[in-house]
Subunit: 401 residues, 2 copies
């Protein structure tokens, strides 16, 4: 019996509330050996009080040593094994621009490129054209018609775009057309299985028209296709956990990830204050709230230790508003680590704080990586966080008699 | 997606160097409750300095409570699940005498035995004949010809020998002929599957001739066959990890295990000094070095606590030479525990030390079992050590976007 089956079988419904507050890229590293991490450096009186009341631990998003992207990081937190449920690059790009991908959609990440007179790629990113140019070219491509399918072309940023083919029975298993080098022509979209032959034909037909449409638009006189895929079939939060789940995320990518597991995406506004207000206003409508805070990751990716510390302190200052709602279970964690020292996501285990009346409290009195290492939750795969949340919310029956 | 597929997909190449120093049977036990283990008793200033800089943990070679042999112990360290990749006893015996087993070889462990006048086994080890006698009898058996296959017979030690049949299409699935008791005749070599029928026929024909050849050599007037098997198909280190790997091991068994995963086996000389010199000389030729130190295991198996402590101190004194090469990742661990109190391999978790610039250092300041228990790596399956090594060497891409 796999984990989701177990949850399906054991979950019960009650009136408890669970809040999962995800500070993106929360885990960090000290700048110097023996020093403190960002989280340990930050002044976090509210998180520390929660830590004293609750229980700490460290989660492994995928496997030891594996650095997750945002997709696998969040799926793990939502209790779905990220190695079992994989999300194609095209789908993630679609989610990232708030495109509402349906089960009949094939999503493709596109890169505008430059073709020379011989038809070979001379620049794989079309000189990194401005976003406005990309948007204008996407509007032109969006006019292309293919019989039997709907076509959507949307700009992402600079030379990046998303193409979606919507139609019944389209397979998503088609090779990239980006040859990953210059001096050669783009590749043909080749189906990897019989069920994706129609998709490959549609892509070929679309690319033929696109070449004509863009022929005078150098440097962006063509585009390549990557990460062609459908959204994976992911069982819904409601079906697996019996939870009515609401997502309160400012950034499109995280709204999209919440939509993948069929959470209801709420209007989050622009700021953490807006998000907290939304939480208050929606409190009676859901059992589970996923709140996402982006800036602990973006400051980490900027390599800005001090700014990440400041963002953690900002997060800390929002805790009283959330705690005032008296959630039965309040979890504060990250989807992965983003040490500002590394300026990137990393594989290091992620701090977890779980506060509930049923915690077997540990000796930890502040929220930080070193304290988490001795926390009562130990080190555990992130995919087990949801069953812990449900248990502390009294939402899981006994297994076996 | 299994672990090796994940490694295949995520690994990248760069110029970093990884050293995996395996002190065989490193883990131990105190002689008296509350006392110190061998590793904790030893004076290890160099390992302690590494521990302070790096991160510690405890690895489980196979599963909790499972005591591994050298084969599973090392496969786990090399990142191959020891329950998935199993090595037959005949193959291991072949590796242990430095016999270069190929993919067409069926390897068999033999035991010289004594048959009485009725053809029943009266001694399963032929009175533990001297090694010189075993070697002389093997030379006689090595003359036996079987049409269509090459036959190799090599002495191991005392009454033990290795027989190898080399030929295309030979299956390795044949029952032992050792009945595991006396007073009965040896068993017939019976094929367990259709593909091994030819092998069983060859074995039968070989045994018939062997009985004739040995008939006047009592007490060793016959031999039994055990652990008949081919070497398992194990994906190469290069293919899985993209690593050019060199093995520096004094003992044949460990050279053989390195060869199983297609490491290049280097001339290791006879001493730890020789091994360190080889490491220096080969530094530019490989990305990954497996160094093996046998004596922490053999002193443990002798039940000699003080000698094991001394060997650990000898190992410690070699650390500066290795560290001077500035490996990006230096790991010191064992393939299993061999507590001298037990005089045998054991299932106890194995101390792990990983030193790299990207470590999230823990509070540990010396290398020992108790400190490892509070180390930042936690307790983890040994098969995940390789992905941690690659991550710290910057050799793994992000999983998912």
């Amino acid at each position: 019996m796999d984990l989701l089956d177990l949850m399906r079988r054991l979950h019960v419904k009650n009136s408890t509330k669970i809040v999962l507050l995800v500070a993106d890229g929360l885990g960090g590293l000290p700048l110097q050996a023996g020093g403190k991490t960002e989280l340990e450096t930050a002044q976090t009186p509210n998180l520390d009080a929660l830590a004293a009341r609750g229980v700490l631990g460290l989660s492994t998003p995928v496997l030891p040593g594996i650095t997750p992207g945002s997709g696998p990081g969040h799926l793990g937190l939502f209790g779905y094994d990220p190695l079992q449920f994989q999300i194609g690059r095209g789908v993630l790009e679609g989610l990232g621009i708030d495109f509402d991908l349906g089960p009949n959609d094939v999503a493709i990440r596109g890169n505008f490129c430059t073709l020379d007179a011989a038809g070979n790629i001379s620049d794989r990113r079309a000189g990194r054209i401005a976003s406005e140019i990309g948007a204008r070219l996407c509007a032109k491509l969006d006019q292309i018609k293919i019989p039997g399918v709907e076509v959507f072309v949307r700009p992402v940023k600079e030379y990046r775009l998303v193409v979606v083919f919507r139609g019944a029975g389209l397979g998503g298993n088609v090779e990239d057309t980006d040859p990953q080098k210059t001096g050669v022509p783009p590749l043909d979209p080749v189906a990897r299985d019989a069920g994706s032959k129609t998709t490959a034909d549609i892509a070929r037909s679309f690319l033929k028209q696109a070449r004509e449409v863009l022929k005078n638009d150098a440097p962006a006189n063509f585009f390549t296709m990557r990460g062609i895929d459908k959204r994976p079939h992911i069982p819904t939060f409601e079906e697996v956990y019996g939870l009515r789940a609401g997502a309160i995320a400012v950034y499109p990518m995280y709204r999209g990830l919440a939509r993948l597991v069929s959470m209801q995406v709420l209007d989050a506004g622009q700021t953490l204050d807006d998000q907290c207000r939304r939480l208050e206003q929606s409190w009676n409508d859901f059992d589970f709230f996923f709140m996402h805070f982006k800036y602990t990751d973006s400051t980490g990716e900027d390599g800005n230790f001090a700014a990440k510390v400041e963002r953690i302190e900002q997060l800390d200052s929002a805790i009283p508003q959330i705690a005032a709602l008296k959630p039965d279970v309040l979890i504060v964690t990250g989807d992965h680590s983003t040490p500002s020292k590394m300026r990137s996501h990393s594989w290091h285990p992620v701090p977890v704080l779980l506060a509930a009346d049923s915690c077997r409290s540990d000796a930890c009195t502040s929220f930080g990586e070193a304290q988490c290492l001795s926390g009562g939750l130990g080190q555990f795969p992130a995919k087990h966080l949801m069953s812990l949340a449900l248990a502390h919310a009294g939402r899981l029956e006994k297994f076996g008699a």
